[in-house]
Amino acid sequence: MAVVEFLGPIGRPSLNVDVKSLSELREFLKNDEELSKWLEISAVAINDVLVSDLNAPIKQGDKISLLPPVCGG
């Protein structure tokens, strides 16, 4: 299992998922209508490193973070 964290304004509790890649995670989340607006604008990190490849593998115990648009300062 890996854990998905929904950061900042997404405001959801973490979710345990059994997926082997980001594309599998996308399949897993695709029917969640409320989440879809966030998926469109959020970046994704695996173990605190931003990723841009849907084929990125996900291993047991990985932390997947969804990061919506940012504005510091």
Binding site: R26, A43, C71
Partner: protein, 146 residues
């Protein structure tokens, strides 16, 4: 150097402490930026969420870049609520020379605005309202879009 605080920053204490620490480094320039929450659009203040692990790695990269040029970079930021007219962000660069310091400082502060994993909310009538219109998507955003 990264400092995170719950609530408003004591900007005077932070800047003075940095000054006392870095004035001994034989650098000719200490540049600071202090962000102060403005009273506008009927807000009572701002509120922030911070994701520390990625903020730290973002700042580590800047520290490496600064170190190559003999500079020092530092920042402090608030977590949670900051009322109008208080400080939420302090950034500093210490540089052997003014020009190099001012140049890197400008790029650093702009990069901070668009890359640091911090989420801003307006405080309106006791509610936190995500400042989405003023926010910037991170690299790779939308990768999970169906």
């Amino acid at each position: 150097m990264l400092e995170l605080y719950s609530g408003p920053l004591d900007a005077k204490e932070i800047v003075n402490r940095w000054y006392d620490k870095y004035k001994l480094k034989n650098c000719g320039a200490f540049i600071t930026f202090v962000g102060i929450v403005r009273d506008e659009d009927g807000i009572d203040g701002l509120s922030f969420d911070v994701y520390e692990p990625i903020l730290k790695s973002w700042l580590d990269k800047w520290n490496e870049r600064a170190k190559e040029k003999g500079l020092y970079i530092m920042m402090a930021h608030s977590i949670g609520d900051v009322p109008n007219h208080e400080s939420s962000y302090v950034a500093g660069v210490v540089s052997p020379r003014r020009r190099a310091g001012l140049e890197i400082f400008d790029i650093f502060v702009e990069d901070f605005k668009t890359k640091a994993p911090i989420w801003k909310y307006d405080l309106i009538d006791g509610k936190r309202v995500y400042a989405q219109a003023r926010s910037t998507a991170l690299p790779g955003a939308g990768i999970l879009k169906v």
